[in-house]
Amino acid sequence: MLRVENLTVSYGDLTILNNVSFSVEPGEWLMIVGPNGAGKSTLINAVTGGVPARGTVLYEGKNARAMKPHELARGIGVLAQSHFVGYSFSVEEVVRLGRYAYAPTIFSSHSGEEDAVKKALEQTGLYAQRRQSVLTLSGGELQRTFLAQTFAQDPKLLLLDEPTNHLDLVYQKQVFELIRAWLQKEGRAVISVVHDLSLARAYGTRALLLDRGCVVADGPMEQVFTDEILNRVYRMDVRDWMSRMLAQWKEA
C-alpha cells in the first residue's frame, strides 16, 4: 500500500531522517516509536509532502509527490496531534472539509457528501453536537472532530501524529478504539507515531523503531519490543521501569 525508500530529511548540516525505508500493507497498524528527537513526526510530515525530503514515497505504486493533492487525500488521511481553530466553525463544518478531496472544484459533484459526513459524525459520537462551535469543545472532543473529518475523507491509509498526546486516559482509549474499529474494514491501514510504548504494544500490529533519524528495528511487535533493542535505544531498562509502574497499581 505504502512504500517509503531511502527517505532523507536534512536542514543544512543537520540530518533529521537518514535513509529511512519501510512499507505498510492493508490490515496493518504500524507504530512508529522512538525517543524524543528520533524523527518520528518528521517522518509523517515527509511522507505527506509537508517538508522537503529526498527519497521515494510510493502510494499504491504511484509516486506520492507527483500526485495531485486531492488525489493523494483520497488515499491518505492525516490526524495531527493538536489543533488550533481560530474561528467558531461548527463541528459539522470542520467534518465536511474532509469531503473536499471528492469535490475540489465548484463544478464537481458533491454526491455522497451528506451520507459520509453524517456517518463520520455518528461513528465518533458527535452527531448530537454537530452544530456546536469547535471553540467550545474540550481537547478530546476537538480531536474526535478532526478524527471524524478524516473518517469523512474516507482514506485507505490513516497517518496519526501522536493523536492522543494531550488527552487524558478516557479520551486516549476512545480515540484508539475508534481507530481500531475503523481499521476493521478491508483494505485499510494505519501508521501512527506514539510516545507511549504501552499504547503502541496494545494496539499495534507492527513497529518501526527510530533513533536519531535511523531505523533501528522494523517488524512484528514482539521482534521490535525486545529488552535488548529497547534498552539500547532508550538507554534505560525499559522492562524494569514498566514493571515497577504496573506493580504500583497491583499493590494499590
Partner: protein, 322 residues
C-alpha cells in the same frame, strides 16, 4: 435603501421621489427633468455613491478573504503590503504630475495599479526566496516590512512635493469625491473579475481558516490557492486604492461584524461581506459629506474613527460570547 439614502442626502437635499424618478428615467433613457437636482444626482452624487459602494464591497471582500487565508483576524488587504505599494504609485503620479495622454485622470489609477502589481511580485518573490513553502508568517512579515519601506519612500516624495503636498495628503486620507462613471466601471469590472475568483474559493478559504496544515491534509493545493487568492486580492486592492486612496478599517472591521451575524463559513461570509462593506462605506461617506457641511471630511478619517470604536466593541462582545 442605503444607496438611495446616500444619494438623497448631502449638502443639497433632494426629495426621495425626485431621486427615484431621475434614476429610473436615467436607466431607461427617458427624458430627464431639468434643474439642479438632476445635475447633482447624475453627474456628482450617483457616480460617487456607486463608487463608494463598490470600493467598500471590494475592500471588505478582500479583508474577509485575507482573514481566512492567513487565519488571522487582524489581517486585511493592507496586511499584504500591496495597499502601500499602490499608494506609493499614486503619490508618485501626483507628485511628478504623471498623466496619460488623452486620459489625464487615469495617471494616478494606472500608476497605483502598476505599483500594486509590482509590490505583489516583490513581496511574493522575497517570500518565495526566503521560504519555499510560502508560509503565512513569512508573507505577513514581508508584507509589514514592505509597507514600512513603501511608507518611507512615500514620505521622502511628500517632503519634496512642494505645492502638491495638499492634494497628496488629501488623497492618502482617502477620498472618492471626484469619482466618475469611468471609476465606477473600473471597480465594477475588478470586483466581478477578482471578486468572482475569491468567491469561487470559499471552500478552500474555509480549510485555510481551520488551519493551513489541515487544508493540505484534506487535499487543498495550498500553494496554488494561496497564490490565486493573493493575486486576486492585490488586483482588487490596487484598483480600489487607485480610485479611493487609502481607506482604512473597512477590510478589517466589516468581515468581523458580518462574521458575528452569519458565522465563519466563507460561503456565507464572503457574499455578506460584499454587502456589509458596501453599506458600511456608503454610511461612512454620508457622514463624511454631511457632518461638517459644507466642509467635507476625508472618508478614510470617518472609517478609521467608526472602525476603531466598532472594533473594540465587537472584540469585547465576541470575547464575552465565547
Amino acid at each position: 435603501m442605503t444607496l438611495l439614502l446616500s444619494v438623497c442626502v448631502g449638502s443639497v437635499s433632494i426629495p426621495f421621489s425626485t431621486t427615484i424618478s431621475v434614476i429610473w428615467r436615467g436607466i431607461w433613457g427617458l427624458p430627464l427633468p431639468q434643474g439642479t437636482a438632476t445635475a447633482i444626482l447624475l453627474t456628482s452624487r450617483l457616480p460617487r455613491v456607486l463608487a463608494v459602494m463598490l470600493v467598500g464591497a471590494s475592500l471588505s471582500l478582500c479583508g474577509g478573504a485575507m482573514q481566512g487565508l492567513l487565519k488571522n483576524p487582524l489581517a486585511d488587504g493592507s496586511t499584504l503590503g500591496v495597499s502601500s505599494g499602490a499608494s506609493l504609485g499614486a503619490v508618485t503620479a501626483i507628485a511628478f504630475g504623471i498623466t496619460i495622454p488623452k486620459l489625464p485622470f487615469a495617471g494616478t489609477m494606472v500608476m497605483a495599479m502598476v505599483f500594486a502589481f509590482c509590490s505583489l511580485l516583490i513581496i511574493l518573490g522575497l517570500a518565495y526566496k526566503l521560504d519555499f513553502s510560502l508560509s503565512t508568517n513569512t508573507i505577513i512579515l514581508i508584507g509589514v516590512i514592505f509597507s514600512m519601506f513603501a511608507s518611507s519612500v512615500m514620505s521622502i516624495i511628500i517632503t519634496f512635493s512642494g505645492e502638491k503636498l495638499r492634494s497628496i495628503t488629501f488623497w492618502t486620507m482617502g477620498s472618492l469625491q471626484g469619482a466618475s462613471y469611468t471609476s465606477v466601471l473600473v471597480v465594477l469590472i475588478a470586483l466581478v473579475l477578482f471578486g468572482g475568483i475569491i468567491l469561487l474559493h470559499a471552500r478552500e478559504l474555509n480549510a485555510f481558516a481551520v488551519g493551513e496544515e489541515n487544508a493540505r491534509h484534506v487535499g487543498v493545493n495550498v500553494r496554488r490557492v494561496k497564490l490565486i487568492i493573493l493575486i486576486a486580492v492585490s488586483g482588487l486592492i490596487g484598483v480600489c486604492v487607485s480610485i479611493g486612496g487609502t481607506i482604512g478599517f473597512v477590510g478589517l472591521v466589516t468581515p468581523h461584524m458580518v462574521r458575528l451575524l452569519v458565522g465563519p463559513n466563507h460561503k456565507r461570509l464572503l457574499p455578506a461581506s460584499v454587502f456589509g462593506g458596501g453599506i458600511f462605506l456608503m454610511l461612512s461617506d454620508l457622514i463624511a459629506r454631511t457632518l461638517l457641511n459644507p466642509k467635507e471630511l476625508p472618508i478614510g478619517v470617518v472609517t478609521s474613527i467608526i472602525g476603531a470604536v466598532a472594533f473594540v466593541y465587537i472584540y469585547g462582545a465576541s470575547r464575552k460570547g465565547r
